[in-house]
């Protein structure tokens, strides 16, 4: 039973990474921009966050550094695709390739570093409950923040005027432009917010999740986050659910490896990636369902006049 509680706790922890990244990507995809650079932004942010944590010892500054790094890279991407009309897929790929190399380059001096003793978090009373205490209420504050963020984004998209404008830009940039909304600036803002959230996710990996920096440590989480937005048909609550689902798969395979199950560890390591493929296949099978839910202008450039 205790072990099951720990598995739930670990799932929430690992799902939080995917949740931040996928929520960020959701915002920029809702505005019509696909950023394939998620993996690169997360890696650079993981280094930025880790370096900040090593030098200052402050987790919150580390998350801020990660957000700034992710946001800055996303801004460069945004200027290219929004003002210079470069191909979104190619530019995102460039960002991923650059980010992977750049993070490895900058991070080399941090490969030996290790963060000091981690605080343990424990919500009074609730954390002492049997089972639910260790499962749910002894998490890093960011875990709860991810849930709050999901609610906030859902409210923003469906209940606020700004969210309506953002969705309008993603569905039909021409109409939004005709109504006088600054389509390109809105898209840039969405891209930067998306990058910043990917950055928070990257920093969370190195600072909270592993406490160290390893080259290529995101191991495809940026790409899985991209798949999650499709899986969630671009809805915040489903993104969160999907993130926990994938976090669960990752943790389950680690646990099975730890218990020495009679399957080669390599096949267990494959599981999250195979799960991503399976989920994509299941959700995409119905093409018209995807088309109805997908922001209509996604991936297409908008060039006023």
């Amino acid at each position: 039973m205790d072990q099951f509680a720990l598995l739930i706790a670990a799932t929430l922890n690992s799902g939080t990474v995917l949740a931040f990244a996928a929520l960020g990507l959701l915002i920029n995809e809702r505005a019509g921009i696909v950023n394939l650079g998620a993996e690169g932004m997360m890696l650079v942010a993981a280094v930025a966050g880790f370096a900040t944590a090593v030098h200052t010892g402050n987790d919150w500054l580390a998350f801020a550094a990660g957000a700034i790094a992710g946001g800055a890279l996303a801004a460069a991407f945004g200027v290219l695709v929004i003002w210079l009309n470069t191909n979104q897929y190619a530019t995102g790929l460039a960002l991923s390739l650059f980010g992977t190399g750049f993070a490895a380059f900058v991070g080399i001096r941090y490969t030996q570093e290790k963060l000091g003793e981690q605080h343990s978090f424990h919500i009074p009373v609730l954390g002492d409950l049997p089972f639910v205490g260790p499962a749910l209420f002894r998490q890093h504050p960011m875990v709860y923040l991810a849930i709050a963020l999901t609610v906030a984004i859902a409210w923003f998209l469906y209940r606020s005027r700004a969210g309506l404008v953002l969705r309008a830009v993603g569905e039909s940039p021409e109409s939004a432009h005709a109504l006088g909304y600054p389509v390109r600036r809105i898209r840039l803002a969405a891209v930067i917010v998306g990058g910043a959230l990917c950055g928070v996710a990257g920093a969370y990996i190195s600072v909270v999740y592993t406490h160290l920096w390893v080259e290529g440590m995101t191991a495809g989480k940026g790409w899985i986050a991209l798949a999650l937005t499709t899986f969630a048909t671009w809805r915040p609550a489903r993104v969160l659910l999907g993130a926990y689902l994938f976090g669960g798969v990752t943790m389950l395979q680690l646990q099975l490896q730890g218990e020495g199950v009679q399957v080669s560890s390599q096949f267990l390591t494959m599981l999250p990636y195979l799960a991503t493929i399976v989920v994509l296949v299941l959700i995409s099978r119905n093409a018209s369902f995807i088309r109805v839910n997908m922001p209509a202008s996604i991936g297409k450039p908008f060039f006023p006049g």
Binding site: T91, F98, M270, I277
Partner: protein, 351 residues
């Protein structure tokens, strides 16, 4: 303020000049980077642009690295021209290496010197199978090929690890995760004694010609490209987009697999966890920088190969991390995409 104005038609001159401008931008940023790192920028640039072409040996090493990049990028060019986004060439390369190794391990001391041919065919087949999964899932289930092909890279790495840590581990290899060293009869013949460069370069040269003919002189190549440029027009003309998808993916998978086979049956001579060297990702940059044109790809593959060798030299000579290669590769693609704007637009002063 400046603004962009659409050109009536794409500028041919800019389309040629843009990779050169992008290279110039990368060099300028590289120079700044060297200065910031406290290294002599001239020495830094020499390591990347002069050392790799200084001697006959250096040139052959350049060819050794350019060959897989060239082969993979040719296949990817067909993909990208048909608007099929296969970004998992790295995985197809790994599967090619695995299948080729599987064949190579069947060799016995009595097999003839021709045995490298089935080894390479095995490689092509492996790459095609892996890309075929992507085509199947896209065709049958509408699953996004970008994400599926990329996820399969991670899966391929694990398959490779499983084999070299498990069933294929050399029993006499001191427990190192690697297969036996393949017999000499499986080795791709070398071109000159004493150099690592082999017949793979010739294969690559033939492939360049073949892809040029395919793209610009055959009806099938024309159909593929119309599908990429104007899907609606292709549909109206009755060109099958499904056929285009399968052709592009199997072709690029086969080329990546061939490159993987050439690596294990050539410079490496055995299967190890270090077979994936990022060629599959670098080839994406090679394809774009080469304008998705076979001749352009030759030039960009050589350039990218210089980046690889330069990165290794920067590590040994200047004490800089090898990942500098990735930084320069990414910068090059970024600047290229930015410069490419000038092919379709011109800059005007806002009045």
């Amino acid at each position: 303020m400046l603004r962009l104005e659409a050109r009536p038609e794409p500028s041919r001159a800019m389309s040629m000049a843009s990779p050169l401008i992008a290279l110039a931008i990368t060099v300028v940023i590289g120079t700044v980077l060297f200065v910031l790192l406290g290294k002599d920028p001239l020495r830094g640039l020499a390591v990347f642009f002069i050392e790799p072409v200084k001697s006959a040996y250096a040139l052959t090493e350049l060819a050794v690295k350019a060959t897989p990049l060239l082969l993979i990028a040719l296949g990817l060019a067909v993909c990208f021209r048909s608007n099929v986004w296969n970004i998992g060439a790295e995985g197809q390369f790994i599967l090619g290496a695995i299948f080729a190794s599987g064949v190579a391990m069947q060799a016995t001391p009595s097999t003839g010197d021709w045995f490298f041919v089935p080894v390479l065919i095995g490689g092509v087949f492996g790459g095609m199978c892996w890309a075929g999964i992507v085509a199947l899932l896209r065709d049958r289930f509408n699953a996004n090929e970008i994400l599926v092909s990329l996820m399969l890279v991670y899966v391929a790495e694990q398959v490779l690890n499983y084999l070299v840590y498990g069933p294929w581990k050399d029993p006499a290899g001191y427990n190192f995760p690697q297969t036996i060293t393949f017999l000499k009869s499986t080795q791709v013949p070398k071109l000159f004694a004493g150099y690592r460069v082999n017949v793979g370069v010739v294969v690559a040269a033939v492939a360049v010609a073949a892809f040029w003919v395919l793209l610009f002189r055959t009806y099938a190549g024309f159909q593929l490209q119309v599908g990429g440029l104007a899907p609606a027009a292709a549909r109206y003309a009755g060109f099958s987009s499904r056929k285009a998808l399968w052709t592009a993916l199997l072709l690029s998978g086969g080329m990546a697999g061939l490159a993987g086979g050439l690596e294990v049956a050539g410079p490496l001579g055995q299967l190890t966890p270090h077979v994936p060297a990022g060629y599959g990702f670098a080839a994406i940059i090679v394809a774009f920088v080469g304008r998705l044109h076979p001749v352009g790809i030759v030039l960009s593959a050589i350039l990218m190969s210089m980046f690889y060798i330069g990165g290794e030299l920067a590590q040994s000579r200047l004490g800089l991390p090898k990942s500098l290669t990735g930084v320069f590769q990414g910068l090059l693609l970024f600047s290229l995409l930015a410069c490419d704007t000038l092919v379709h637009y011109r800059i005007r002063r806002k009045t």
